[in-house]
């Protein structure tokens, strides 16, 4: 009992820890919270210098666009309920229904179905039910906070953001699948080999990870622009021009990502005891069979985590995609750059804000679903280092 007393913190230290954490959480969340608030206000309110006007949006309200008490409470209830489901229920269902050894695939399918059904319920079914409810509830149904989704519809339907979204989807899917396929094999090989060569490959990969991305892009750009002429002797007239092709940027992003992927997967494989595949080898498996039958079923946590980080790299990339794709046909992040650079009117600015929020919304859900995996990924790379 004595040692517990010794380790116990004095009250002031405890109190200041709480105080600092509250302060940090506000600093961490405020900019993100703020752009989401701005994005649903008309320009008059969005860039108002009075913070209360921005939050409550009197200008937006006077146009008859707003949320009532009922809207807000139902919306919050749906969000909280979803959060509750994602943390426990979804995981159990996925584990229950996915076939053995394919839990990773199960997670991907499960979270996608879940995400899509949430979007349908939240953006299509809920508003129509609420509009009926608001008419019959009198005072509670009156609008109290300015709220308008018109900038979102401008972004997604008039500015053709859907096309950018498709490109992002194509690029991220490609990057994640290809990096993981190559990365798991290499990571396993490196984890199970103690040779000097393995060490040097890892060090070279580390040096490659340090490369500024612009260096690689400088190497790719001339080839991408002239690829039709360079490849003509091999492919004839069918030789493609790589510049402006989303799938060609996949190759670049996979290459940028590969050093990180093999480092991370290696540390995950090191945490799987080598006795496991040795046992399989004694039973007469070859290395590849041992990998496929013994390692693959237990490697999914590491693969999911590494996949998450590959996804983030591809999704968040600005430099590579903006340089190698044409301005009319980019992924989402470079598309937003053209929006805020052009901001001639305040409406354009708010539209750019709405686009920004549209881009980060999936990331928000990603953290909600995969918080544990992200944390374990950050620490796995570090602790084994």
């Amino acid at each position: 009992m004595k040692d517990i007393n010794l380790i116990k913190q004095p009250l002031t230290l405890r109190f200041s820890s709480y105080f600092f954490l509250i302060f940090w959480c506000i600093v961490a969340a405020f900019p993100i919270f703020w752009i989401s608030v701005i994005s649903v206000k008309l320009p008059l309110d969005a860039f108002n210098s009075n913070a209360l006007n921005v939050i409550f949006g009197p200008g937006t309200l006077s146009q008859g666009k707003g949320l009532s008490f009922i809207d807000i409470s139902v919306g919050l209830a749906v969000i909280l309920f979803t959060a509750k489901l994602t943390t426990g229920w979804l995981g159990r269902k996925v584990n229950q229904y996915s076939p053995k050894g394919y839990v990773g695939v199960g997670w991907i399918i499960g979270s996608m179905t879940f995400g899509i059904s949430f979007i349908v319920v939240f953006f299509a079914i809920m508003p129509s039910i609420l509009s009926v409810l608001n008419e019959y509830t009198g005072l509670l149904g009156n609008n109290i906070i300015g709220f308008s989704t018109e900038h979102y519809s401008t972004v997604w339907f008039e500015r053709d953001f859907i096309n950018n979204f498709k490109n992002s989807l194509l690029v991220t899917t490609g990057v994640v699948t290809i990096s993981l396929t190559f990365g798991t094999l290499a990571g396993y090989g490196l984890a199970r080999s103690g040779s000097n060569l393995a060490f040097w490959i890892l060090i070279i990969a580390l040096v490659f990870r340090a490369l500024p991305h612009s260096v690689l892009v400088t190497g790719y750009l001339p080839f991408f622009i002239n690829s039709a002429e360079i490849l003509r002797p091999i492919f004839g007239d069918a030789a493609p021009t790589f510049y402006g092709m989303p799938w060609a940027t996949v190759a670049v992003l996979v290459a940028i990502n590969q050093p990180f992927t093999i480092w991370m997967l290696r540390s995950f494989f090191q945490s799987i005891p080598a006795e496991l595949d040795e046992a399989a080898r004694v039973d007469g498996c070859s290395h590849f069979q041992a990998f496929r039958r013994v390692i693959m079923p237990v490697m999914w946590p590491g693969v999911i985590t590494t996949g998450l980080f590959s996804f983030l790299l591809a999704y968040n990339d600005f430099l590579v995609t903006s340089m190698l794709l044409e301005a009319q046909n980019t992924t989402m992040v470079p598309a937003i750059a053209s929006m805020f650079n052009m901001e001639t009117t305040t409406t354009d600015q708010v539209v750019a804000v709405a686009a920004a929020v549209s881009i980060i919304a999936p990331l928000f859900f990603l953290v909600m679903f995969f918080q544990r995996q992200i944390v374990s990924g950050l620490t796995a790379g570090a602790v084994k280092g």
Binding site: S17, W24, T218, H287, L319
Partner: protein, 341 residues
């Protein structure tokens, strides 16, 4: 695992890295010694215009690019030696600036301006990230278990947010009469514009980067704190160590490998600062090395890209990061040799 299976496992990945990383690097090195230019021809053009007194004809010698059969301007690539590097480094201007003893004039040269910002940015954010990361980690470790989860959730948000958008989010707080600018104006009772001079922009960039990276450091350190040996701490307390001494002599040495890891990752990432320049649209005041290369690569109004100069600045950028990382990598190497002995 024998050599053959080892190669079978790592082969695809290594081949890809050679093809898609090493080969482009070699191309960049080669390109930095070459320059592609349009081929020009000089023509004597006679233009005649009618006047009252008759035709007046003017003969001019014009230089125009030759257009090939496919309608594109014909270009040719020549070996130019180190002239791309000279164009980037601009030594005559550097010498002139030093002769005038003028730091301001020196800072007008793009490359040196970018280098100055990249290095100060990297070296200023590093201690801040380590400090705040450690502080957040210690605080999380200090509070009740039930609120650690939510705090980590909120902390992850700045880390995984798209960098350009994170920078934009901060920019929208300050731009024009943004709420933080108006708050500062009300507090300091003077007119403030955060985007009119370099140092305020650099301050916002630094703030953004610390906000973006500190959570990563915090989570790594927090994981490290879970493995601190309880017995060592207890014996330190019994020996009468103060709270500060405990931190200084037990906890920080325990976290040292993690501190080196975060330092390594942060040096790599902060050195390629780029998204901040885009997000804060700071190119008029502040530019970074990556942005400089990006700018060379961007097509100008005529559709020309200065590939040669971009390659030269890429090579210089690469030399910079190598020099920066040598001390850290040497530590890793010594550690590895130590383990094997």
């Amino acid at each position: 695992m024998n050599q053959k299976t080892f190669f079978a496992f790592i082969g695809p990945s290594v081949l890809m890295m050679v093809l898609f990383i090493a080969l482009p690097l070699a191309t960049v090195l080669k390109q930095s010694f070459y320059q592609t230019q349009s081929v020009y021809e000089t023509l004597e053009v006679e233009t005649c215009s009618p006047t009252f007194t008759g035709q007046v004809c003017v003969k001019e010698i014009k230089t125009i690019p030759i257009i090939g059969n496919n309608g594109k301007v014909i270009t040719q690539t020549n070996y130019v030696g180190l002239s791309n590097y000279q164009n980037v480094l601009e030594f005559p201007r550097v010498i002139a600036a030093f002769a005038n003893n003028s730091w301001h004039e020196f800072m007008l040269i793009d490359f040196w301006k970018a280098l100055r910002f990249t290095l100060t940015f990297t070296l200023i954010t590093l201690p801040l990230v380590l400090f705040f990361g450690l502080l957040i980690a210690l605080c999380i470790n200090n509070v009740a278990k039930s609120i650690r989860g939510p705090v980590i959730f909120v902390s992850l948000l700045p880390m995984i947010i798209t960098p350009v958008i994170g920078a934009l989010a901060i920019r929208w707080l300050f731009i024009g009469d943004g709420i933080l600018t108006s708050f500062l104006e009300w507090w300091l009772v003077k007119d403030i514009s955060m985007f009119a001079q370099a140092w305020t922009i650099e301050f916002m960039m630094t703030f953004y980067r610390v906000w973006h990276v500190a959570p990563f450091a915090a989570i790594v350190f927090y994981a490290g704190l879970q493995t601190v040996n309880k017995d060592t701490i207890e014996s330190a307390i019994i020996d009468g160590a103060s709270r500060w001494q405990k931190l200084r002599y037990v906890i920080i040495p325990h976290l040292m490998p993690l501190i080196i890891f975060v330092t390594l990752i942060h040096l790599m990432d902060a050195y390629r600062v780029f998204e901040e320049v885009v997000g804060f649209s700071s190119q008029a005041h502040v530019i970074s090395l990556q942005w400089l290369t990006y700018d060379f690569l961007t097509a100008d109004l005529m559709g020309n890209r200065s590939i040669g100069r971009a390659s030269a600045s890429s090579m210089l950028t690469m030399i910079g990061i190598t020099l920066l990382l040598i001390p850290v990598l040497r530590g890793v190497w010594n550690d590895y040799k130590g383990k094997r002995l």
